[in-house]
């Protein structure tokens, strides 16, 4: 019961924040709503008992990436941009196509597992009490099975750091 309440609470905040984020005129308000959407996503991770990912989402996404976004928004803040048209000219076509995509995928989710004769087993998740400690499980997997992607990710972050610094430097 608590699971359900938590899920609907966080899911409601996530979807509402996402809609508000995409429609605000003021970019700083959009950033604030993205922060709340990311916090709600972290709440969903916590509800799924993925506590390491919950805190990583808060530290990295909200505490790192969004701070970067807010910095850049303040650097490129244009008052004249507030008065201009916010949505591109293709907005109606884009909306219809996106909703068509949503409908297709939604129907697929709705009917999967309900059609007769598919032969797929119906899965139920393990009860929360039988889960191994999350941080240790993630760490074990990260440093044994997925060691190569881990090293590649660190090289990727190094490259991105150097690239961002070079690009944002002022030319004398």
């Amino acid at each position: 019961m608590l699971d359900k309440v938590l899920f609907y609470f966080f899911a409601g905040i996530a979807v509402a924040s996402a809609v508000l984020m995409v429609t605000r005129r003021n970019v700083v308000h959009s950033a604030i709503f993205l922060i709340t959407a990311l916090l709600a996503t972290a709440g969903i991770f916590l509800q799924l008992r993925a506590e390491f990912l919950f805190i990583v989402q808060i530290i990295l996404y909200v505490g790192g990436i969004m701070v970067l976004f807010v910095f850049v928004i303040m650097l490129v803040n244009l008052d004249v941009a507030l008065q201009q048209i916010q949505f591109a000219r293709q907005k109606w076509v884009a909306l219809i196509v996106a909703l068509a995509l949503a409908g297709q995928v939604g129907v697929m989710f709705w009917t999967s597992g309900k059609m007769p004769g598919q032969g797929l087993p119906v899965l139920t998740a393990a009860a929360a009490e039988h889960l191994p400690p999350n941080s240790e499980a993630v760490a074990k997997s990260l440093f044994s099975t997925y060691l190569l992607p881990f090293e590649i990710a660190s090289v990727l972050l190094l490259v991105a750091m150097i690239g961002a610094v070079v690009m944002a430097k002022k030319r004398t």
Binding site: M1, F52, I58, M66, N134, T172
Partner: protein, 457 residues
């Protein structure tokens, strides 16, 4: 509807303890912060050879209440063209982040609001990092150039020192193998040695980084009065400003608690595992009785009757607390059969005393530094963070890892680990200073040939 009510009752039955503690903390914390500010002003006065607040109440003890009343009745000014939503939200974010991270801390083995989080320390550090948004959005919402500059400088400083603080915590966490706060303190109890001795470089790095994290002097350029008025806090008046102030001191308590848990042994008595030093258990009640006796001795010297009565009241309070502290240690001596029954009380009360004592020492050190060292200029601050502390903390993590492997190879434990970790600390410090020296030389050479460098910009 019935199901929702049932669900709420079930939730309350499970979590009524933490909820009550949370509400209590939120209610009492402003009072505690007010008195920490009074203590700071008294210490500042003492270090500047004067007396500090003395008028409001005996020895100035009602000063925080006067300050609180003043702040609450001040006019709430919102700048013109300020974004009202964000202006309202910014102090709330700061205070919210600080209070939420307080929930993950453990004062004693049984005093923890958010019980037994698997990711304990990481939760506290991560949530307290959310306070950056309060600063940045507050500075932006004030619609003033100086506020925005102060906010950007302050948040740049916070972000820069977060990495160094995180790496310092990682070096200490290498000894525990877990992020759970109770397990960290139990690891220090098991090893018999506090991690401040095993990882001194990490403690030093965390000390400096935590001063920068809380915007305290000597790293308080963004909020110094002679620089940017009050930086991001300039346009906030009355209750909003008091929220920011509360957030700053709550952050101080949080970083002090994290350092105490991870480095100074949490709620452990010094030498907690050594049985022949058990007489140290009597130190807390004796200390408080000594303070009480001192108050009684000074009573006749007080100028007015009110102050004399007040001194007696303080002495009475000290004696009561000393009695509470003495009970769990004296009763087993008188009646050895009571030892098992009294043990949880001992752990809780004495653990709480030692934890608060160590946190107070750490905060006293913050205050001491504030009134001793001049302020760092902003570029000096960034240079210290990026060019010294981050290389130092990263090298320290590597070397502590190597030291641990060497220690496991030679089957060292407890105090024996000092044999491997001390050389690691020395090498890390030497390496970091070498890096700094090489850079200084490079900078000196660059200044001579500045015109020919494309990226000198």
């Amino acid at each position: 509807m019935n199901a929702a009510l049932q669900a709420t009752l079930e939730f309350l039955k499970l979590y009524w303890g933490p909820l009550l503690c949370g509400v209590a903390v939120v209610a009492i914390l402003p009072l505690i912060v007010g008195y920490i500010v009074l203590v700071e002003r008294k210490i500042m006065a003492d270090m500047q050879a004067r007396l500090g607040p003395m008028r409001v109440g005996p020895h100035g003890l009602l000063q925080p209440i006067a300050d609180a009343v003043k702040l609450l009745i001040k006019e709430d000014i919102i700048p013109e063209n300020a974004d009202k939503l964000v202006f309202w939200l910014a102090p709330v974010l700061s205070v919210g982040a600080g209070l939420l991270s307080l929930a993950g801390l453990a004062i004693g083995p049984a005093f923890q609001i958010a019980q037994d989080i698997n990711i304990g320390i990481l939760f506290v550090v991560g949530i307290s990092a959310l306070g950056i948004f309060g600063i940045v959005l507050g500075g932006w919402a004030s619609n003033s150039h100086y506020s925005l500059m102060g906010a950007l400088r302050s948040s740049a400083q916070l972000v820069s020192y977060e990495t160094a603080a995180g790496m310092a915590l990682v070096s200490a966490l290498l000894f525990t193998g877990t992020l759970n706060i109770k397990s960290i303190v139990e690891a220090q109890s098991k090893e018999g040695i506090w991690f401040v001795l095993l990882a001194p470089v990490a403690f030093f790095t965390y000390l400096v980084a935590s001063i920068a994290e809380t915007n305290r002097a000597p790293f308080d350029l963004p909020e110094a009065e002679s620089e940017l008025v009050a930086g991001y806090m300039t346009e906030f008046s009355g209750f909003r400003w008091s929220l920011y102030f509360l957030a700053e001191y709550t952050n101080m308590i949080v970083v002090a608690s994290v350092a105490t848990t991870l480095f100074l042994g949490g709620w452990l008595r010094p030498f907690s595992g050594v049985p022949w030093l058990n007489f140290l258990d009597f130190v807390p009640p004796l200390l408080l009785s000594a303070i009480g006796a001192y108050c009684v001795l000074r009573m006749p010297k007080q100028p007015t009757r009110v102050q004399q009565l007040f001194m007696l009241a303080v002495a009475g309070l000290c004696f009561v607390v000393a009695l509470v502290l003495a009970a769990p240690v004296v009763l087993p001596v008188i009646k050895p059969s009571l030892r098992a029954a009294v043990a949880p009380f001992y752990a809780g009360i004495h653990g709480g005393f030692w934890f608060i004592f160590k946190v107070s020492l750490y905060i006293y050190f913050f205050m001491w530094l504030r009134f001793t060292i001049p302020r760092y200029r902003f570029d000096q601050l960034m240079r210290l963070g990026w060019h010294f502390l981050i290389p130092l903390s990263i090298i320290n993590v590597l070397l502590v890892g190597v030291a641990l492997i060497a220690g496991a190879y030679f089957h060292l434990q407890g105090w024996g680990l000092l044999l491997v970790t001390t050389p690691a600390a020395v090498i890390a410090l030497v390496a970091a200073f070498l890096i700094l020296a090489v850079e200084k030389e490079h900078d000196a050479r660059q200044e001579q040939t500045a015109a020919s460098d494309f990226y000198a910009g």
